[in-house]
Symmetry: D2
């Protein structure tokens, strides 16, 4: 992309917390013009009425997704922050309309084909879970419905840049990872790839702020229910499980099942994962740490902390950073990996922007330079 030029970006589902954080980041991105924002119940409203912190930013009003005049709006990039299931339908339609049904006619066999077919066409970055699971049967099993766009699924690239940067570069459809998978995979994939830990008995104890639950009106999300309290949820059946397992399986080269237990913590943003792993013969916690440090040596957003420093969510609040560390376990042959991210940034909107930068050939850090905010 030529410096100084701007791409026209649309945000589908801008009235949720993820959408709001996308706006926060994109409105200051030097190469972006936010040309379109949609909402459902809040269609017709200025974004500043829905999110007063986004007032006075010269943004277009929210419109209903049905009101979008697709080819005419001439978007270069679409961020899709819609609820699960909706994304598949919308993205399917969107690609047809914006590409004049090109997809129907062409035969796309490889990622490279797809990429080329999208040349000059809209790029789609999906923040929902709709295109994260490569196996449509697994999707059906965990989401309780048939996949709505199986023909697109195998074209989607899993958008965890530190692990799949090359594929993202040429992707036309990127499925951004869930927040929990992001922290888990950044911690585990390099170690499984390198054979430093065993693929069996991986236990992920995850803790998240409340914004991950979205802005929907549910009793458990009320202030009074959450404040001064904490509890686990979705034990044994959280939908981020198959996503984590899918990627760990690829990394390990063997089927991986995990134990994964998320907890709700009284904070707006932030996610911490405490991961209990078994070392392979001869490995130590120090080896794991060194391996991760080396793996992420050139990465801007992932860093391994000095010995003994605990990852804490306050270190990354509002930023696209992930901080990691590895600790010896008192149990012989085990180690503990701890990772912290901001669930709305590296766990969602920030990572989406990072993917966009890669897809457009921009510096990966563009628009993501925010220093974490503490206090």
């Amino acid at each position: 992309m030529v410096e100084g030029t701007k791409v026209r970006v649309g945000i589908l589902g801008a009235s949720g917390y993820t959408g709001a954080d996308l706006v926060r980041l994109l409105v200051r991105h030097p190469n972006v013009e936010i040309a379109l924002m949609t909402a459902e119940r809040k269609a017709g409203m200025p974004i500043g009425d829905v999110f007063p912190h986004l007032k006075n930013l010269n943004l277009p009003d929210l419109i209903g997704i049905d009101e979008v005049e697709w080819p005419a709006v001439e978007l270069d990039v679409v961020f899709c922050a819609l609820p699960h299931a909706t994304s598949q339908e919308v993205i399917k339609g969107l690609l047809h309309e914006t590409k004049h049904s090109l997809l129907d006619e062409m035969i796309v066999e490889t990622t490279e084909d797809l990429a080329s077919s999208f040349q000059g066409e809209v790029k789609v970055i999906d923040l929902s879970a709709d295109f994260r699971l490569r196996d449509v049967d697994t999707y059906a099993e965990w989401y309780g419905r048939e996949h709505g766009a199986p023909e697109l699924q195998h074209k989607a690239v899993y958008g965890l840049p530190e692990l799949y940067r090359d594929a993202v570069k040429t992707a036309a459809l990127v499925a951004c990872p869930g927040c929990y998978p992001t922290a888990a995979l950044l911690s585990l994939v390099p170690l499984l790839r390198g054979g430093l830990i065993q693929p069996a008995d991986i236990i992920i104890d995850a803790k998240s702020g409340v914004s991950g639950a979205g802005r929907s009106l549910k009793e458990p999300n009320l202030y009074v229910e959450v404040s001064e309290a904490m509890h686990p949820y979705g034990v044994g059946h959280h939908r981020h499980m198959p996503e984590i397992e899918q990627e760990l399986t690829v990394a390990a080269g063997t089927n991986v099942a995990i134990s994964f237990t998320p907890h709700l913590v009284p904070m707006n943003r932030g996610e911490l994962e405490t991961i209990y792993v078994k070392l392979t013969e001869g490995q130590t916690a120090g080896d794991l740490k060194e391996h991760l440090a080396s793996f992420y040596a050139d990465e801007t957003f992932v860093s391994v902390l000095p010995d003994g420093v605990m990852p804490a969510t306050r270190m990354v609040r509002g930023s696209n950073n992930c901080v990691l560390n590895v600790f010896e376990d008192r149990l012989k042959g085990r180690a503990i990996i701890i990772a912290a991210i901001d669930n709305l940034v590296k766990g969602s909107s920030g990572q989406a922007v990072q993917n966009m930068n890669i897809m457009l050939g921009l510096e990966e850090v563009t628009g993501l330079e925010q220093v974490a905010m503490f206090p």
Copy 2:
């Protein structure tokens, strides 16, 4: 104890959060008269100046521990909420002074001897860690100093009433468990005793409110550091580890080492433990649950929740209750046990009062009937 009568109670170290919660409970206990409260830096102050929520309760002023006129004060029960290490010195002195050096002369071989020797004498309930570890070498290793009262150590009873009620009944010196050990042991001991879980690879991921850190002036305890954030601490070397291992070892009949990782959560009170265990051959999560339900069937303060209901700290806030549940793990042969307590009540002051009730032959629930407070 004859109904209607009152015992004279002293609280050593009443100016900390644990002390304050002891006062909250004891001042409404129908069989208690708070006759003495000590503090160090705040000696000389009315308790209502140190803790304004304790104003107007007709309590004695705080005095320095050196000012106590020991035999004259005629205490029946002493709660010792002093910092670690201090307790050993103070309790040693206290038993000598109040018992006219009786302990020096007599030979006490068994708990029964000790109990009888204390007949009519002061009963001591220690809330510090000073008498929790039966092995004085382990104490020295973890606390970095020699045990200051080894001659008293083997007379101390580990005061987890649901597991050691009979011993507590006749004890003269009770060492109340730490908050983390309380939730862990209530979850695990019955299962190890019953052989339902393996003693290997027990992983305890613990989360606690901030009051557990006490009222001391440390940067990590400042509001701004804690609010909207979370992080682990003491990974691999928290002092509650040897205490948990000691009791699990007894329960399992074999040496048990654990993985234990505590986390600080932005809330005042509350503690949640997510415990990952391996089943023994043929057992299921359901079996574990049934076993725990049966074990605690007659207990007032410990209950196993209905299937699928998540223990949450808000269920027990301000009360002496512990709620438990067991969940299938996605990993074959594993289960997840979740326990919630209020760290200041069942994890500290409430349990101390429960111990007192048992030692005095009162109804165990006396003074502990508070319904949990939510919101």
Copy 3:
């Protein structure tokens, strides 16, 4: 009431936060048996499913209000924690049904008449706003609908015990004050009655925790919206205004209008009011303080703090207490009164229980002895 006996109590609307706090208090009240609890959407559920902190308390299941068999249930006291407007209908029906339409026929001219007419009949304690405003036109103006039970309105006693204890004693229908009026009136009425402050230009800046907004699913009550933030609401038109003005007008003997601005603060419980007043000629802040101290000298639940001590919500959390203090204003001829209560207790459920105690001739403090909970 004879000691040891129990009255049968019903709670209409037990599934809200106010209802839950009523249960917390009443279930430990020695003279109460909770015989009935109703709910709307949650009818049919055990209370322990709606509020897990209320599990295992041997309480009846929630039923729909239409399912109540009114005379048969034989209630002595009914607490009505229903939404505004609903209360009028329900209480009207309830008094008719339980009293066999007696009210229709009789002519009740004075509070004494009414009291005698209720002798042996159900006593009603309403926690809604439905019977607080004596003037039905004012009700209609502020609540946007006609009063639904004007014939009952003038029989209702405004249940602020410290100000209207005698009337409450003989009342059959008590309208408990709103949370904001409670703190405001306890601060101001004695001063206006005594002529120490001017009735003009009274400014009340009020701050409340979120539980006051109830458990209803509204976006502004979500954790993420409230946490780490604060804002005013209802500026110039909050419904507690006319209620405060009504009582101040009585106290002053002249029409009083007030400036009242409530704010939402990120906490579950607690309410603080900072009240700016003009002194009458010759008065000082010290005089005000002395007057209040003397006025409340014999009160259990209201206390004036020592000089310079700031009322804080943490002093009263979970208790029925109100703490007050008076400060000199830098502006000549002015003073600042500060009051703190727990909005759910003295501001609602606790005060309702206090009223019940008075109506039944019990010790006023019965069941309300809880020490404030801090931390």
Copy 4:
């Protein structure tokens, strides 16, 4: 200043929350190079050890202020975020050293003289209270000590850019307003200048997050003391009073005394002021609003919200914005002005950067484009 060039900036007192927020903003400022950061107790440490969220930013280590080699370090701008009283000494010394005692010799009568005298010299932006009060006697009265640099005091410009932009442009020493004064003066000065409100009986009820109290280890700043609670402090004698009065007096052209009561709210950042004013004859709340809207029409950082929209701290969190609105009071002849800022940004570090931009002739918004962060 020529675009693309960078000034060398020093931050004295970088280890407090204000210092940290300065770093957050300045490290991304395109025209700034942070060349020096000092700390006292934490001298010698990398900033990333003191504030882990500031890791990996290529910043110099913290050094003791005595270690600074003043002329050699060649700073263009010094931000002074030191404790009160210290600033006067340090700045006096600093100006002498960096200017080779020039100040001692020259006679500076007017702001213009001073500005010219500083030409090419270091510019000092003080975030403490040390140079805010023009009258050194008032300083002595409120701060309990003689002013340490009276010869510099009359050269200091009060750095509220929206009110004193022209003076700031040419200033060599800017005293940044306190956080409370910032919100109060932005609300009141235009109205007093315009004669729309009366200078008598101005009442400011202020609420602040905890970061305003700094990172010092004091019991009232502990998480447990603050969380789930609120209280007023400094009633009648807060040090921001004389500062507000000084500026209101200038604006009104007559002596103004105010009523000012700050409250501590459980949040990290954010400040809200509810200001009660008397209108001058013939004015309405609408007039006030219109006047403010017009006054701030061209301002980037101050905006008046649409009718009825409540200023809320979450609208400005992390940003340099101030949002205002005006409401009719129920009391005739009165109005209520509400203002919200982030106490650490517009109330401190952001405003300091804004002043720097003005002093250097940069676009005022440079480095301050951050969108507010919500959630």
